[in-house]
């Protein structure tokens, strides 16, 4: 009988500890959970080269009027006015994290969505990479970088070099495509069009935030 009472006491004590521990969770101050990508995962993303899109592929996307991509020029406005790729919008790197009156990121609608690929470009790849890194850190998906930037664009698409005589069939096919693309884009390093580029209104659905498993 005494044993039974001891047993019961132990049960009650354990039950009380459980209730106190569970009750404690209700009283704890809310823990701040960062929505940003962890440094470890960012490093993984940096080492993953799938973020690159080559100028040839971009030329193909522009020519075929593919609606599933958007070129984003991250250079300053003056450079953008001087030369831009057809259909590109301009979000200067220094304005990428601008906030609106409500305190939200102004460009989030464009940068955090799952309806199309955003391709950043600058003259080289420094600015476009910085833009990509910022969006990645914010956990935005579907942002890519134009490999080699505009320098590579000019070199491969605009100023097309004739392949050697012993070039393979694939090299010849690439040359033919580039030559045609060069004609399409005006060749000689000029902009395809000086018409002002209208920033397309964002009609897609803003990517919903992932369900936060953390508290």
């Amino acid at each position: 009988m005494a044993d039974n009472r001891q047993f019961k006491k132990r049960y009650i004590l354990m039950a009380l500890i459980l209730v106190i521990l569970a009750g404690g969770t209700l009283l704890l101050p809310e823990k701040y959970v960062s929505e940003e990508l962890s440094p470890e995962n960012l490093l993984k993303e940096i080492n993953d080269n799938t973020r690159y899109i080559y100028p040839d592929d971009i030329a193909h996307l522009i020519i075929s009027k593919d609606p599933n991509f958007l070129l984003i020029d991250v250079r300053d406005s003056a450079s953008y006015q001087e030369f831009k790729l057809p259909g590109a919008i301009n979000i200067p790197l220094k304005n990428l994290l601008d906030k609106d009156d409500a305190g939200d990121y102004k460009w989030e609608g464009f940068l955090n969505q799952d309806t199309r690929k955003n391709i950043f470009y600058s003259n080289g790849t420094v600015y476009s990479h910085q833009a990509w890194m910022l969006t990645k850190r914010l956990n935005y998906e579907n942002n890519y970088v134009m490999k080699g930037g505009l320098n590579k664009w000019i070199e491969t698409i605009i100023q097309v070099r004739r392949p050697e005589f012993d070039a393979s069939e694939q090299e010849l096919a690439t040359y033919t495509f580039r030559k045609a693309a060069s004609m399409f884009f005006g060749g000689g390093g000029t902009a395809a069009s000086d018409d002002p580029v209208n920033i397309p209104a964002f009609t897609g659905k803003k990517k919903e935030k992932e369900v936060q498993e953390g508290c």
Partner: protein, 195 residues
């Protein structure tokens, strides 16, 4: 702090083996290889299985919460099984039926087979045959199996309450279940003694 090991770690299989042996040993030591004990839950004369699993669940839940809060593990990286409502209900019923008929669940059957129980070995044979039938007949029930997918759903999100509140409620419910099952067990045991 965590994870101490990841799935990609070359030691993960060794860790899994050690954990599996420890789990099996404790399961056997606690008497879970006895189908009488397991069937006792359905007949109301022994609720130790329910108490042990419920205790494990609430201890793990509280532990996970505090570990996450203190930054020792990242709760968001814990894999949550995907929920398919229809197949979860039907599968649960089939599993329950198998449990009551065979007197084992898949884990305890392996445990009982390891100590040489023939009924558990036959039970495992049944599990394998069932898996083969499920696989072979997948085109027939595959559509139903994948219907009503809710992703990695959690109860607190579906109920629209905080995780802390659900945890608190769950623990109160567990304690109530312990008390209620103790009463049922007492009643059933007294009845058994009469006859």
């Amino acid at each position: 702090m965590g994870p101490l090991f990841t799935a990609a770690d070359e030691w993960s299989y060794v860790i899994a083996l050690v954990l599996g042996i420890a789990f099996g040993y404790i399961l056997e030591s606690a008497g879970f290889s006895s189908s009488r004990k397991l069937a006792g839950v359905f007949y109301g004369y022994d609720f130790v299985v329910l108490r042990v699993f419920f205790t494990a669940a609430i201890t793990a839940a509280i532990g996970l919460f505090y570990f996450d809060y203190l930054g020792w593990l990242n709760f968001s990286e814990i894999y949550v099984n995907k929920l398919y409502v229809g197949s979860a209900i039907v599968g649960g019923m089939i599993m329950g039926l198998g449990f009551i008929i065979g007197g084992f669940c898949p884990g305890t059957s392996a445990c009982a087979a390891a100590i040489g129980k023939v009924d558990a070995m036959i039970f495992i044979g049944g599990v394998v045959i069932g898996a083969i039938i499920f696989d072979a007949g997948y085109p027939l029930w595959g559509e139903f199996y994948e219907s009503g997918g809710k992703g990695s759903a959690t109860l607190y999100e579906d109920l629209g309450i905080s995780r802390e509140l659900l945890l608190f409620g769950f623990i109160l419910f567990a304690l109530f279940a312990f008390w209620a099952t103790a009463l049922i067990q007492k009643k059933v045991s007294n009845k058994t003694h009469k006859y």
